[in-house]
């Protein structure tokens, strides 16, 4: 009985951490393997940005003025590309049933899955940004500013997108529905992300104000996203 008691006090704080890190490691591993989503996102980002100079034409001044907006749009679409599978894959193979039943709170499991998605699919986009900045005639400072705003803003995209991914499971509809639901939610992030980058390049606004709001948006979605997604998944139990 003593053994049982020590185990009991144990499984309230330590195992949830083990469980969450196991979930994060699994999702990242799957994303990085063949057929996973991490590489697809970066390739899509690359394609969108490379196509832009051809569409806009060889006007370097115009290109550098549009640069931050193009990079942000590319990153937004690329992060949505793989996000709709966030819960769908687990739902289809029955993993979601076991995750729902487990001792780990569903909210934390959702947060862990979103974090893993951001690490595997969001972070590579930010790493690729300096290279793509060259193609858009952005100087070092401007590229740095865009990369910094992406670093602060893409968590918001992932964590609000997670709500759409959970609804896609609940409503048994994938892909397109998710884009329709999530894109309006990402408008504020887009506005302040591009505004902060533009502030560095052309002024006259300060970088601090829009950047702070961008950080605030990320923090709010970090809190709301997991709860909304878990509520949606629970409601859709079937």
């Amino acid at each position: 009985m003593c053994g049982a008691d020590s185990r009991r006090s144990n499984h309230h704080w330590k195992p949830p951490m083990t469980a969450l890190s196991a979930l994060i490691r699994r999702d990242i591993r799957i994303a990085l393997r063949v057929g996973g989503g991490a590489l697809i996102g970066v390739l899509f980002f690359l394609t969108v940005v490379v196509l832009m100079p051809f569409a806009v034409g060889p006007d370097l001044a115009l290109l550098s003025r549009l640069g931050p907006a193009i990079l942000w749009l590319g990153a937004l679409l690329a992060s949505l590309l793989t996000l709709d599978r966030l819960f769908m894959a687990d739902h289809e193979d029955g993993s979601l049933d076991l995750i729902t039943m487990s001792r780990t709170p569903l909210e934390l499991a959702c947060a862990a899955k979103a974090l893993a998605h951001w690490l595997a699919a969001g972070l590579p986009l930010i790493v690729a940004t300096p290279v793509l900045g060259l193609l858009l005639n952005l100087d070092m400072v401007a590229t740095g500013a865009v990369a910094l705003t992406l670093l602060a803003g893409t968590p918001a995209l992932t964590f609000t997108g997670m709500i759409g991914a959970a609804l896609a499971v609940t409503l048994h509809r994938g892909g397109l529905l998710m884009a329709v639901l999530v894109l309006p939610l990402s408008i504020p992030v887009l506005i302040f992300g591009v505004a902060a980058s533009q502030a560095v390049i052309v002024g006259p606004m300060t970088f601090g104000a829009p950047f702070s709001i961008l950080c605030a948006l990320s923090l709010v979605s970090l809190v709301i996203g997991p709860f909304a997604a878990a509520a949606s998944l629970r409601h859709g139990l079937d």
Partner: protein, 200 residues
């Protein structure tokens, strides 16, 4: 430990699957849920697992761990086996062991028990249907849970596999576990029959 359901009503997709269902199971007992297709065998298991919400009635577990909910003390083995084709056999199993937590067994030992020790590093995508089922059974062994909810557990298992599985169920029952299995084929162990929705 006693698991009981009283006056359960299950509604899915606006259609009543069953109503007024009572059942009870005690430690060391296996209950075989039988009935024709669509009578609600899987629904009953999912109600117990907390994956469906009953439209009426209640399910209670007496004498279990007071700090854990009923689903947290259950293993659910459904039609879908919760395996990731991109991960190896060992990675799949260690993930579930880490994630589900609690008292656990060494995973190599349970893989040897289900006869998959030669395939440890093989991606799960290359396994046959029977091997996938064996890997799911290894999850039940690696992580200890007192209540096993099994949905057609012997599907895709060969004769030797069914014998092996019957042995595992006996061992689980002898340790004071409980099994509720939805099945068409005989389980291969002594079990009490719970019939849903008339004679098949």
């Amino acid at each position: 430990m006693q698991l009981s359901g009283h006056d359960l009503i299950c509604v899915r997709g606006g259609r009543q699957v069953f109503a007024g269902l009572d059942f009870a199971a005690v430690s060391g007992e296996a209950v075989a849920v039988v009935g024709r297709n669509g009578s609600g065998k899987t629904s009953l298991l999912r109600l117990i697992a907390g994956l469906l919400v009953p439209a009426g009635g209640k399910i209670a577990l007496e004498g279990g761990d007071a700090e854990l909910t009923l689903p947290e003390q259950c293993h659910y083995l459904g039609h879908r086996d919760a395996l990731k084709p991109a991960l190896s056999v060992a990675e799949n199993l260690t993930f579930w062991a880490d994630f589900l937590g609690g008292e656990r067994l060494d995973f190599t030992e349970s893989l040897a028990t289900v006869g998959l020790e030669h395939a440890t590093h093989l991606p799960a995508g290359f396994l046959s249907a029977g091997q996938r089922r064996r890997l799911s059974l290894a999850r039940l062994l690696t992580v200890r849970r007192p209540v096993w909810l099994l949905d057609e557990p012997t599907n895709a298992l060969d004769v030797a596999g069914q014998d092996m599985f019957a042995g595992l169920m006996c061992e689980h029952l002898s340790r004071g576990g409980m099994i509720i299995a939805a099945t068409h084929a005989p389980l291969g162990i002594d079990s009490r029959e719970l019939r849903i929705g008339g004679v098949a």
